[in-house]
């Protein structure tokens, strides 16, 4: 059974850089999915909430506490602090995924260094600038990594893997009390 770590977990990477791992409030997570006219329809729905459909699947759109991630050509995830009432459109399917994900925040000078031990992505400032996100896998579990600051990453991980994946990430740190 996975060891349950008390949040927040504080420690240093093997190169001595500090990192804090803590679970933060995810808020509301809504998926919009569609078919042929997805770009036009989804953008129309998002604009009524003063949001916008990102043109690519790597850049986050942010307004206040709301983030929009285009996770596939015809799918977006919207993370918001409160539930949003998206306009009902026949060709767009809206799905509340708030309970399916947990948000882990990695913060500190060693955050990128810690992550780079677990994912095969270029996490340098040039390769993964603030406002960039990626869907990848940590320990074979699908995660969404969002760079929210130079030394801060939010990880959306499946709720059922929250304990084990937090433990897996924490095991990469020299933990301090």
């Amino acid at each position: 059974m996975a060891k349950k770590h008390q949040s927040p977990v504080r420690g240093t990477t093997s190169d001595g850089l500090p990192v804090t791992i803590r679970e933060v409030e995810l808020g509301t997570l809504t998926q919009l999915a569609g078919w042929e006219d997805f770009d036009i329809l989804a953008d129309g729905i998002l604009r009524k909430q003063a949001l916008s459909l990102p043109s690519d699947c790597r850049s986050s759109f942010r307004r206040g506490l709301t983030s929009v991630w285009r996770i596939a050509p015809d799918r977006v995830l919207v993370r918001s602090d409160t539930a949003m009432n998206f306009e009902a459109v026949d060709e767009i399917v809206t799905l509340d995924l708030s309970h399916s994900r947990v948000c882990l925040r990695l913060n500190g000078r060693g955050a990128a260094s810690l992550l780079s031990r677990m994912v095969a992505l270029d996490l340098s400032e040039a390769g993964f600038p603030i406002g960039t996100f990626a869907q990848t896998a940590i320990h074979h579990v699908s995660v969404l990594i969002d760079r929210v600051g130079m030394e801060e990453f939010d990880l959306c991980i499946p709720t059922t893997f929250a304990v084990s994946l937090t433990g897996f990430i924490a095991e990469h740190l020299n933990q301090v009390a």
């Binding site: 699947c57 790597r58 996770i71 596939a72 050509p73 095969a120 990626a134 869907q135 990848t136 896998a137 074979h140 699908s142």
Partner: protein, 88 residues
């Protein structure tokens, strides 16, 4: 380790993908009644040496099916496309 270019996510490790199948196989017409044709469609595959088109699923990323053209001998990649956008 193969590195596969996903048209949506960019260059990623093979571990993020699941191999689908030979992308050159075509399903027989649904009215086909010869069992041999269906047997070959379901079970018989070439084992080509050289350039070959394959379906891969980016299961840990954007969940899209892509067609990858790869040299089975050298693993050189020649291109990858969203499966729904190509006719192979």
């Amino acid at each position: 380790m193969l590195r596969i270019y996903c048209p949506v996510c960019g260059l990623r490790d093979e571990t993020e993908f699941t191999y689908g199948e030979d992308a050159t196989v075509r399903r027989p017409d649904i009215s086909e009644t010869d069992p041999k044709v269906w047997h070959e469609y379901v079970f018989i595959r070439e084992n080509p040496r050289g350039r070959h088109k394959e379906y891969w699923h980016h299961v840990a990323g954007c969940r899209q099916w892509i067609v990858v053209e790869r040299d089975t001998l050298t693993h050189e990649m020649f291109g990858s496309f969203l499966a729904r956008e190509v006719t192979v």
